[in-house]
């Protein structure tokens, strides 16, 4: 039975399993989702508190609030962390429910494209208000 001792047989089980995951970098994704989650705990509480205090405010009041350095910094971080976390989360949702490769890739591109576009618009608004016209 010497013929069966091929190169494949000599590889350890670990070596044969490596790199065969669905996306090849699942751990990085998992970590990024947790890190953004931890960042969002204080940022979310700050955001809710701020918005509550702005209930019914007019444009001038909100602009004045957003132009303060601390607000602009925290709001930028909140936007980046939120949309990053959203992209990671929705990716998993799509991977879980969409199994046809073509539809999956299309859905992923559409969702991520929309997220990047929206995040850029939100971030631009903050910078525009904070840095003046």
């Amino acid at each position: 039975m010497a013929l069966h001792h091929s190169k494949q047989r000599l590889a350890s089980p670990l070596a044969r399993a490596r790199g065969l995951g669905s996306a090849k970098h699942g751990v990085g994704h998992w970590w990024a989702e947790r890190v953004s989650a931890v960042a969002l705990i204080p940022l979310t509480l700050w955001f809710v508190w701020s918005v509550v205090r702005l209930t019914g405010a007019d444009q001038g009041t909100v602009k004045l609030w957003l132009s303060r350095p601390a607000t602009a910094i925290l709001m930028s971080l909140f936007i980046v962390a939120t949309f990053h976390h959203l992209a990671l989360g929705l990716q998993v949702v799509i991977e879980d429910y969409v199994h046809r490769e073509g539809v999956k890739v299309t859905a992923m591109l559409l969702v991520k494209g929309l997220i990047v576009l929206t995040a850029a618009a939100a971030l631009f608004t903050v910078l525009r208000v904070a840095l003046g016209n």
Binding site: L40, F83, V93, A121, A122, V129
Partner: protein, 137 residues
């Protein structure tokens, strides 16, 4: 080949399979798991709403007033209420998941206790936020 799996069609099915059948028994743990995902998707839509609100800052004061008027309408307030609860639920549920990631609280008793805690905290914080909102108005 000592063992082969039975063909899929003859494999006995659990009566607790999802989607719910007549014998499906809801459990807090699975319901909260699905809610965590559902609120996450809802918050994605909320992020679109937030961006719309921010973009209105770049327009005329009347543009922003129109957005504020929509958000203050019954439908707008219903959206914001749902969003507030989703935010707090996803926040506390997320913290529960982060604790699980450290290997703690995974036994059934702890999972139920933390589950009800998340439900209670999300409702209480939503109410506190809305009372505060009406107070600051």
């Amino acid at each position: 080949m000592p063992e082969t799996a039975p063909p899929p069609r003859t494999r006995p099915l659990s009566p607790f399979l999802f989607p719910p059948t007549g014998t499906y028994r809801w459990q807090l743990t699975s319901a909260l798991s699905i809610l965590n995902r559902a609120t996450g998707v809802a918050l994605g839509l909320g992020a679109l709403l937030l961006t719309w609100w921010l973009l209105a800052l770049l327009g005329e004061p009347s543009d922003f007033a129109a957005v504020q008027e929509f958000l203050g309408s019954y439908f707008g307030r219903l959206l914001l209420l749902g969003w507030t609860w989703s935010l707090f639920f996803h926040l506390f549920s997320g913290i529960r998941h982060l604790i699980w990631d450290t290997g703690h609280g995974l036994d059934l008793r702890s999972a139920y206790r933390s589950g009800w805690t998340v439900v209670a905290l999300s409702v209480v914080l939503t109410l506190v936020t809305w009372f505060a909102g009406y107070y600051f108005r």
